[in-house]
Symmetry: C4
Subunit: 353 residues, 4 copies
C-alpha cells in the first residue's frame, strides 16, 4: 500500500535544503500573503460526487493543448530562479517534462538558454512580459521561435511588481543576474520591474500573434469578462492565474474564478489554471471546474530542490497516477468526462470567509 510518496511534506523537505533567501523568495506572496496561503484550501474545500457504474477499465488522461496531444493535463508553469533551486535548473525541469510528455512554459527570465531547453526535446512555450517598447521583445520572441517554442504566454497581471512585506530579497538579489538575462542577448538589464508595460491592451495579443505566428496564451486572467476580451482579441487560450498570489493580495483564489471563465470562453478557447495545485485530487477538481491544462509552479521548484530532474519526474508521475485513480473513482474514463456535475454544490466557500 503506497504512502503519500514523493509529495509528502514536499515543501518542508525543500525548505530543509534550500538557501533561506531563496526559500523565502519562492514562498513569498504579495503583502500579507493571504491569497498565496489560501490557494490550496480553495481546491481542497470542494467536495466530489462520483459517478458509478461506468466503464473505467481504460482511463485516458490525455488531452490536446493547442493542438498538441499530451499524456495528461499537467504542465510546468513559468517560474524563475530554477537554478537557485537546483544547479541543473530549467534543464532538469525540461528533461523531466520531456520524459513525461508534459509541456513546459519557460520563463523569459529563465537561467537556461532556449537551446539548452529545446535540446531536451520538451514541448515548450515561452512566457513573456511586454515592456513599454513592444519591439524590444522581438529578438527574444524570434530566438524562442527559432529554438522551437510552440506558443507565447503573455503575462498580463504585472503592470508593476506587487509589493512584498516579507523581509526576504527580491529576485535580482537572490539570482545571479546573468541567469535572468541568458536569453535576452545583449538587451540591457531591466532593473526591478522597470521593463513592464503599464499600458498593455487587447491589441497586444493580436500583435504578438502576428509577430510570432504562434498561438498566444494570456496568463493572469480571473474574470469571465476579461477572458472574453482576450479571446475576442485573438487569444488561443486563457490562463486563470493570480501569479501565485505574488501580485495583488486578497485577490480571489483561482479555484474560485475558474468555472466562470471556463463557462464564458471554454467553447472558443482553451482554459488553463495554476495556483495551489498540490495533489491529483486538485487536478481533477480543476478539470471539473473547466480547466483543460493544469500548471504547477512552486511544487516544481520544491521538487527540483529536493531531487533535481528526478524530483520533477516523480512529482509529475505521482500527480498523474493520482489523477488516473481519481478519474477512475469518479467514473470518468476520459478528461472530457470530468465536468462540473462532479462537484458538490455549495462546497466552494472555503476561502470566502
Amino acid at each position: 500500500m503506497p504512502g503519500r510518496g514523493f509529495l509528502a511534506d514536499l515543501e518542508e523537505r525543500a525548505a530543509a535544503v534550500l538557501d533561506e533567501p531563496v526559500l523565502r523568495y519562492f514562498r513569498q506572496g504579495a503583502r500579507d500573503s493571504v491569497s498565496t496561503d489560501e490557494a490550496p484550501a480553495a481546491w481542497a474545500a470542494r467536495r466530489l460526487l462520483p459517478r458509478v457504474l461506468r466503464d473505467v477499465s481504460v482511463v485516458d488522461p490525455s488531452v490536446t493543448l493547442l493542438g498538441h496531444r499530451v499524456p495528461g493535463p499537467l504542465g510546468i508553469a513559468p517560474t524563475t530562479l530554477q537554478r537557485a533551486a537546483h544547479p541543473d535548473g530549467e534543464v532538469a525541469t525540461a528533461r523531466a517534462a520531456a520524459a513525461a510528455g508534459a509541456p513546459m512554459v519557460l520563463s523569459s527570465n529563465a537561467g537556461a538558454t532556449f537551446a539548452e531547453v529545446a535540446e531536451t526535446g520538451v514541448h515548450w512555450w515561452l512566457q513573456i512580459y511586454l515592456g513599454p517598447d513592444r519591439t524590444a521583445a522581438v529578438p527574444l520572441l524570434r530566438r524562442a521561435r527559432e529554438a522551437g517554442a510552440r506558443a507565447v504566454v503573455l503575462t498580463v497581471d504585472t503592470p508593476v511588481v506587487g509589493t512584498k512585506y516579507d523581509p526576504g530579497p527580491a529576485v535580482w538579489e537572490v539570482a545571479d543576474p546573468g541567469w535572468l538575462r541568458v536569453n535576452h542577448g545583449g538587451d540591457p538589464e531591466p532593473g526591478p520591474g522597470g521593463d513592464k508595460a503599464t499600458d498593455l491592451g487587447p491589441h497586444d495579443i493580436d500583435w504578438l500573434r502576428k509577430e510570432t505566428g504562434l498561438p498566444v496564451v494570456v496568463k493572469g486572467v480571473l474574470r469571465a469578462d476579461e477572458a472574453r476580451r482576450c479571446v475576442d482579441a485573438g487569444a488561443a487560450a486563457v490562463w486563470v492565474s493570480n501569479h501565485g498570489g505574488r501580485q495583488l493580495d486578497r485577490v480571489a483564489a483561482t479555484a474560485d474564478c475558474l468555472a466562470a471563465v471556463a463557462d464564458e470562453v471554454g467553447d472558443h478557447a482553451e482554459v488553463y489554471v495554476d495556483g495551489g495545485i498540490r495533489s491529483g485530487l486538485d487536478v481533477a477538481t480543476a478539470l471539473a471546474c473547466g480547466a483543460r491544462g493544469v500548471f504547477l509552479g512552486r511544487p516544481v521548484l520544491y521538487a527540483l530542490a529536493v531531487a533535481g530532474e528526478a524530483g520533477v519526474a516523480e512529482l509529475l508521475r505521482d500527480l498523474s497516477e493520482e489523477l488516473v485513480e481519481t478519474m477512475r473513482l469518479l467514473g470518468c474514463s476520459r478528461i472530457e468526462s470530468v465536468r462540473a456535475d462532479l462537484l458538490a454544490p455549495g462546497s466552494h466557500r472555503s476561502t470566502v470567509r
Copy 2:
C-alpha cells in the same frame, strides 16, 4: 439518569484493546482521510425542529426493509476483518443482530461461513464485488442464497481500491488470508484489489437480480442521477455510501447527499445510508433526510472489539433507545413521520467549508 452508556468513548475503548495494525486498518480513510473524518460532523451539524402536541404514547420505530419487517431502521453494514476485532467475529455480530432483529449485511470477505452466520437466525444479505468475469461470482452467490441470504448488496464504488496514506497495513496484511476466502470455496486468492471489475454497468444489476432471484441493493451511490439509473436498471434499493471515506477522499458526506437521492428515487425504491452514524440523533436525522435503513460500519467493529456479541447488542440497543426517545421528542410515533420538515433549513453546511 443514564450517562452516555456504552457509546461513550467507544472508539477510544476499542483502540485500547485492538492490535495497532488492526486499529489503523479500521480507522483509515483514503489519502488525507478528509471524508472519513468529517462524516459524523455532517450529521451533527443539522438542527432539528420538533413537532409538538402529537400523540407519542406509543412510538413504533419498526420498518420494512425489502418487504421484511424489522424492529427498527438499524442494520449492520458489511465490514471485513471482524475476527480481527474479536475472536467470535461475524458470528458474534450475527447473534447480536439476530437478537435485536436487525438485518446484517455480510461482507463477501467475511471470516465466518454462510452456514455459521445463518445458524444464528439473523436476517442477512450478502455484500459482493463483481470481478472482470462476472460468472466467477456465481458459486458464491449460489452458496449464499442456499444459506438463506435474502438480498444481494452490490458495491459499486470500488473499481480500484482507493489509496491510503496511512502507513498502516492493507487488509491482506492484517487478516488471516483464510478468513477472507472462507466463503469462496476453491476460488483463487484475488490479491490486492485485483479481482474488481472496472467495467460495471447498470446491466450488472439486472444480471445479478436474474442470477440470484434476490432483490439487489446498489451500495456506493451519492448522486440522484446515478440512483435513478440504478433503479431504472432494477435495483430494489440504493445505498448512499462513500465506503466510509476509504475509496475517494474529499468525496461528499453521505449526510449531504442523502436527501437528493431520496427525493429522486424514494418513491420507487428503498434508500439506505451509512457513514458517520454515531448516535440515535444521527439515525433520526438520516431518517429525516430520507433514509429507510441506516447502517453501521466502524461502530460495530469497535463494539465487537470491546465486548464481542454483548457489545454489538448494547450498541444496537442504545442507538435504538435513543432513536425512540428522539422520535418522541420530535413528535413522531412512526418512522414514516420522520421527514424533512424536522430539519432546520440551512443547518447542513458544516462539512462544506
Copy 3:
C-alpha cells in the same frame, strides 16, 4: 462610566457559591449539550442596523402581556429548584419581579406555595405539565387561580424527560422532594418524569382554557406550523423555547426559530421567547425577531445564587437599562418600533455550522 456590572461573569460567580450538584443540574443540557451551549451565540451573531434621526427623548419599553401592562418585555421563566439556588427561593424571585413589575412564571414544581408567591404582589402565571389523567391537574389549577395566577403556561416539549449525559443528578436527587410538591396538596409524588402525558394535543389547550378561564400560553414551540396549530386551538400566546436545551439535543436555537413563528402567528397571538438571553442587546434582538415577551431562566437562578432577591432585582434592572439604551441607539422609542428591519440580513448563521 459603568462596567458590565452585575451581569459580569454572573454564571461564574454563581458557580463559586452553588453546591456542585445543584450547579451541574442548572447547567446541564440534553446529551451533548450542543443546543444549550449554542443558545447565547445565536443571539450574539446577529448584527444590528440602527435607525437614526428619530426622536428618542423618551424611550418607553413597556408592553402589554396578555392585556396586562408591564414596564418592559422581560419576564421570569419557570425554573425549579430556586430554593437550591438560594434559601429564599421563589419568594425572593417574586419579590424582585414584583418590584420591577416583571411577570413571573411559577414552575408547578416550585418550592414556595402559591400563597407565598402571591403575597409579594407579583403578577404571576402558572407553568404546568399535564399528565395522562388531565383531571389530576384540576386541583392545582384551581388553587393557582384562587391564589391569583393570571395565565396558565402549558409546557408541550416534554412528553418524556430528555436524557442527560452529564454525570450530575436529576432534580429529584438534588431537591428536597417536598419543595417540588408544595403546591400539589396531597397529590402523590410523580417520580422521574412519570407524570407527563405523552398524548397531549391541541384539544388540551382548549380544555385548559375552559377549565381555568385563564389565557393559555403554549411553551416549547419552535415551528411556524405548530404555532399556528396552537393558536387555532385557542392559545393566547406561543412561547418559543427549547427548554434551555434540556430536552432534545441539536434542537434549533430559539433565536433561529423565533422570526418564522412570529411571522406566522404574531398578528393573532402573543409570541414569547427564552433561551440564551444574557444581555439587553439580546433582548432587543429578540424583540426585533418578533418576540413580545422575553423570559429569563438560568440567569435568574444564578442571580438568586449570588445575591438572592437583590440579585434578581439587579439582573432585571441591568437588562432593562441596557434595553433602553439599545432602543435609543437603535432609534426606537417604543417596543413596537423594534422590528426585523433592524437586523442585518444574513447575520444569523452562527449556530448553523
Copy 4:
C-alpha cells in the same frame, strides 16, 4: 523591496508610547467591543477580481469631495484627544493633512482652536453634535465658518453615549477639560454626554445647512433607507460609520453596509465611510463598495502617538501609495473605475458568523 513600512504594527508601537488610560480610551468599543474588533476583518474578507489589459500608465487617485478636488479619497475622521496622543495634537494632524492635500474633519471637541488648524492651510470641515437647544451651536458654527470650515459633519449616532465595559476612563477623565472646550467660547462644560440632542430629525439637516450656508455631511448612517431620508432632507453627503464601534455593540460593520447605502443614494449625494480601514487594499475595497471618501480614525491617533506630524504624513503617504499600486493591479486608472465588479461575489461573509 519595501516592507510593510510605517503601518507595520502601528497600533502596537503606539501602545508602547501612549499613557495607558489614553490607549484604553482610544481602543475601547461599546460593551463587548464586538463591532470595534471585527471592523478590519470585514474589509479583509473581501476578495478582488482585477481587470487586466487596461492602460494604467497613469493612475490618478484624485477625487472631488463636495466640489473640492483632493489628491485622493483619504481623509481624517474626527477624533478627540489628539493632544493626548501627541503634544502637537490636531495641529500636527492638520499640517500632515495639509501637506498631503487630505481633508481633515475637526472634532468639535478638538484641543486646538479653529484658527490654529486653519493656519496650517488644511482643507477642513467641522464635526458637530447638536444639543437639545440647537441654537447653542450657532456661535460655534459661526466661528468655524469664519475660520474657514468648508462643511459641517453632523454626527447622528449619539443620542446617548454608548456604554463601555472597559474599565478605562471616559474622555472627560483623560483629557484636559480645556482641550474639549477650546472652540466653544464661554459655553458651559457639557458634562458626560449631557449635551446631546435625543430628538434629532431630518429637519436638523436642513436647519444646519441654512444656518451655516455650508454643505452638511450626515455621519453615522448604516442603512439605505436612512441615507435616503438624509439626502431628501438636504444632506450633501452621507457618511457610513458606526462610530468605531463605540456606540452600539453588535452593530453591523461599515464594510457590510456601505454598498447598500451607495446603491441607494450614490447618484444624488456623496458617500463616505470609516471604520477598520488599515491598508490601501481596504481603501480600494471601500471605493469598490461605493465610497467616494474614506476616512481614518484610530490610525491617525496611533500615527500621531508614534511620530506626530511626521507619523500622520507617513500614514497618509503609505496608504496612498498602496492605493495607487492596488488600483494599477486592479486595472483602474481613475477612482471612478473602482467599482463593485472588482469584488468577488460572496466574499463578504466574514463578520457575519
